[in-house]
């Protein structure tokens, strides 16, 4: 009995079957595996590229630490030698520290400095009153304008005196010096400003102290219109607590 399949049929079926099997396995199994390998290789190359920077990053870290160490050392040196012990972490306490500094300590220090450095102070000066509200404090850099100093001495003594302000136990700005007269009695005039950096970060404001705009020069404690300040019961309005009406 003759078969229905001829040779050509078998060849066609065989070739098609091999092609379909090969192609389907290629695209369903081999190609996805290759794509995953490509992705993995890219991740590896990227990670390796980053890892090559390790030495550089370590050098940067070392350099940053050294620079920080130097800057912090310098700042600590200046804070210990040029700044009073003043901190606004606790604002009321810091405010009182500032009162003592500005109203008691700084004036005598400034007044004695010219004599210590070989010239004679011939002018007077005064320091402004410190703020009286803990919410009105300048917490980054306090600037205290002292006014004009007039000193008398010879040229060398005056120049040495001006230079000596850098050794004063506070940070001082000495504005350009005007000279008049003849040596050995040259008169030098210059403006002095004291700068203070408070230590640490400032603490929270004090609600009981009222708004920051409440400052000295307004009415005193218990005065009319003073925000947050109520006179004690029974006292007439405007009188300080405990004062006789």
């Amino acid at each position: 009995m003759a078969s229905k399949f001829k040779v050509i049929h078998v060849v066609i079926i065989g070739v098609l079957t091999c092609i379909i099997a090969g192609a389907s396995m290629l695209f369903l199994m081999v190609k996805p595996a290759q794509a995953r390998l490509v992705v993995l290789q890219e991740r590896y190359d990227k990670a390796e590229g980053m890892w090559q920077r390790k030495a550089q990053v370590e050098r940067e870290l070392e350099a940053a630490k050294q620079k920080n160490h130097l800057m912090f050392w310098k700042l600590n040196y200046y804070m210990d030698n040029k700044m009073p012990n003043l901190s606004f972490v606790n604002r009321p306490v810091g405010m009182v520290q500032l009162w003592k500094e500005q109203s008691l300590t700084l004036g005598p220090l400034l007044k004695s400095w010219p004599t210590k450095t070989g010239v004679k102070l011939t002018s007077t000066f005064s320091l402004p009153a410190p703020p009286v509200s803990p919410n009105a404090l300048e917490t980054s850099l306090i600037k205290i304008p002292v006014g004009n100093f007039t000193v008398v001495g010879d040229f060398a003594a005056i120049m040495a005196h001006i230079r000596s302000w850098n050794k004063f136990p506070r940070l001082v700005q000495v504005d350009p010096v005007s000279l008049t007269g003849e040596s050995p009695n040259i008169t030098a005039t210059y403006a002095v400003t004291v700068y203070i950096f408070p230590k640490g970060d400032p603490g929270p404001t004090i609600p009981m102290a009222g708004a920051a705009s409440a400052a000295a020069g307004a009415a005193g404690p218990g005065g009319p219109g003073d925000p947050g300040m109520m006179p004690p019961p029974g006292a007439p309005p405007g009188a300080p607590p405990g004062a006789a009406p």
Partner: protein, 228 residues
Amino acid sequence: MLKINLLPKYIYERRKIYKLASIFGVLFIAIVFGMFAWWFMLGNKEIILTGQVDEMELKTSILNDLQKQVDGEKAKLPPVESKVKFIEDLMAYNLKVPQLYEELAKYTYARILYKSVTPAGNQLTIQAHAGSLADCGRYLMNMYRATHIFNSVTINAVPGWSDSAGAAQGAGQPAGQPAAAEPSSGFDFTVTCALVNPISAPAYAPPGAGGEGAPGEGGAPGASPPGP
């Protein structure tokens, strides 16, 4: 002897078909086996590479931590650096005028007398007295050599000549100038010098603040200063 094949053709056809089918069967098995082997090999490679990638990415996470430390260290610097810079700039500023005056003294002719020296911004104004025109000229020529201190040096005037005895007035007197002393006793003059390096005070700029720092005044507004 004559050979005659009396077998029908379909018998040989069947054998050919069987042979071809077996050949294609073997080919099919080889293709399937080959693809499986390839896929298996790729799978092994994927496992190895996955391990290497995990190891390398662990290392880069260490590196990222290091980089965060670097960024953290660098972030600590600006507030400290700005304070230190301000303090050091201010102390350098305090020394500028003594340095300027000492340099000025080196270029000042010994026979010139200074009555006042006043700095203002990028200018220095000197009120001086010269005993003679020659002294004034020598002084001026000395000052012209101080090119590292001054961009320009100018004097207001020197006295003219008048034929009225004992009075230095009238024609020749510089306009707008007070009567100069007689040349025999010297004369006053004003020197104006433009500074090469203007003297300007540093400003504190805390990091993050825009523009110039404005330190707060230590005095309360409207308060009267305490008595001496």
